[in-house]
């Protein structure tokens, strides 16, 4: 049982190996947040399990609240955050769906909660494996969303979450997403940072206003009639815009501490690439492997790996894609729009506004844990080459489908 690993703390700076859930739990251990209400759901269950173990072992002094549902866990998180506590929770799939109405309230009440989302398909058909339909459904809820390719990234992203969420220009909740099982349960190489610099980087939550503040009365989440709601939403939308600068600044500072800098996205062999995949999450590792083989054959293949999906870095993505001839935008989430998935919708809009003339199409892949293999990606790049030579194509297609 990997739980035992938490009895002997990993040695910082020395390459280690652990699962993505354990990596997040180690980030939580180093930050030692104040309150964690959580309800178990596969594949995120291990995160509250690890945290509860660390609390009972006296490693951290986070207040753990066992709740009766995810609706309750998000409600309790909002209460704790409004009271002035640094708060987190974790969930997946239907658990995230069950938080739905509270997600919007957490964002509009401007509560900087951090949630570890372990991406899993939404039912149905009933399925517990990785895809992005849970968090993609919440893309318009007002939460910042940051995705990871591997265990190292989800650890690094979690450490950056509070400095982003709690920044005075932002004050918005953040989802730190990773792919269910593929990274949450797979054991990979990782290098943890020492505890002290992580603690210093995360700092303390010092909100200007909070419910338990002495000598200040405060009401959170009042009713707003139509005459005020639009103004409130505009203010919230502006905070999401301001989050862009903060995310970049925090990613840069994290790089100064760790040697690993982060931006909105990662370009892999992107600069001179003619054929580009745009994707999110663990499949990017597979895509990189395919690119290495293609580059060895002289094919100008590249990848744009989206890390920050909300706020959506539309202008920056359009600039990064300006030299691409053919772009395959990959969605691990069916949108049922009859047009394709959510990443494609946003990237296509970004390309259009930038007057980009590249051939662009949407590829649905890896739904409900469907395996993504290097050969699938190589076939996709082969199709992109054919499109560049004039082949007709569907703008909305499936990869790895039996048909």
């Amino acid at each position: 049982m990997s739980e035992n690993r938490l009895y002997t703390e990993p040695v910082a700076g020395i390459p280690d190996r652990m699962s993505g859930n354990e990596a997040v739990a180690n980030a939580i251990r180093q930050i030692n947040p104040d309150v964690m209400p959580a309800f178990p759901i596969t594949p995120s269950t291990e995160i509250p399990q690890f945290v509860a173990t660390m609390i009972s072992n006296g490693v951290i002094d986070t207040e753990f609240i066992p709740v009766e549902s995810e609706h309750s866990s998000m409600s309790a998180a909002m209460g704790a955050s409004a009271a002035g506590a640094r708060t987190l929770t974790a969930t997946s799939s239907c658990g995230l769906a069950y938080m739905w109405e509270m997600l919007y309230v957490a964002a509009s009440d401007r509560l900087p909660i951090v949630m570890a989302v372990v991406n899993r398909a939404l039912t149905g058909p009933i399925n517990i494996n990785a895809d992005h339909s849970d968090s993609m459904g919440a893309r318009d809820s007002g939460w910042i969303q940051i995705y990871a390719e591997n265990n190292q990234e989800v650890y690094d992203n979690f450490i950056q979450a509070y400095p982003i969420a709690e920044h005075k220009d932002v004050m918005l909740p953040v989802m730190i997403c990773q792919d269910g099982f593929i990274t949450s349960h797979a054991v990979e190489n990782i290098t943890l940072l020492p505890d002290e610099p992580v603690k210093a980087f995360a700092g303390e939550f010092e909100p200007e206003h909070y419910l338990l503040k002495k000598d200040e009365t405060m009401a959170v989440g009042p009713y707003a009639v139509s005459k005020y709601c639009m103004e409130a939403k505009k203010a919230q939308a502006e905070a999401m815009k301001r989050a862009k600068d903060v995310i970049l600044e925090v990613g840069k500072q994290f790089g100064e501490m760790s040697g690993r800098s982060y931006g909105f996205f990662e370009g892999y062999e992107l600069e001179d690439a003619e054929y580009v995949c745009v994707a999110i999450g663990s499949a990017c590792g597979t895509i990189k492997e395919a690119i290495r083989a293609l580059r060895a054959r002289g094919i100008k293949a590249g990848l744009l790996k989206v890390r920050v999906f909300r706020p959506f870095p539309a202008e920056e993505i359009a600039i990064a894609l300006q030299n691409a001839k053919v772009i395959a935008i990959m969605d691990r989430c069916e949108g049922y729009s009859a047009q394709g998935g959510p990443l494609a919708a946003d990237v296509m809009a970004a390309l259009y506004r930038a007057k980009n003339q590249a051939e662009a199409f949407n590829v649905l892949y890896g739904l409900s844990g469907r395996d993504v293999q290097v050969e699938d990606i190589e076939s996709l790049y082969a199709q992109m080459q054919q499109i560049a030579e004039g082949a007709a194509y569907e703008t909305y297609q499936y990869m790895g489908l039996r048909e």
Binding site: D109, R110, M218, G221, A235
Partner: protein
């Protein structure tokens, strides 16, 4: 710049609202006239009223002010016109009329 609740009105810009519309003063509901929802209005007959004050605790909206142990006329800025006070009054000193 965030304004105080008393300074917020329907011409205030989005830039001047508090973050998340949080309110940092107590008792601000007094400033908001919610009585406009009313379709029927209670009428107090001072001749019949014995100042027994039974109507006061029955009012769900604290819209019957009391001073010096005596009730005053209705606070129509907050009365929703539910009519419970009419039923509570043993002396038929309150009746409802249509409209605001």
């Amino acid at each position: 710049m965030a304004l105080k609740a008393s300074e917020i009105n329907e011409s205030v810009r989005w830039q001047d609202l508090t973050e998340g519309l949080k309110i940092f003063e107590p008792g601000t509901s007094k400033q908001f006239c919610t009585g406009e929802w009313r379709t029927e209005t209670p009428v107090w007959d001072q001749e019949k009223c014995k100042q027994c004050l039974l109507c006061v605790p029955y009012c769900p909206d604290s819209s019957i002010p009391v001073e010096d142990k005596k009730r005053k006329d209705f606070d129509l800025d907050h009365c929703k016109g539910c009519g419970i006070c009419v039923k509570a009054c043993p002396f038929k000193a309150i009746s409802m009329r249509e409209g605001q």
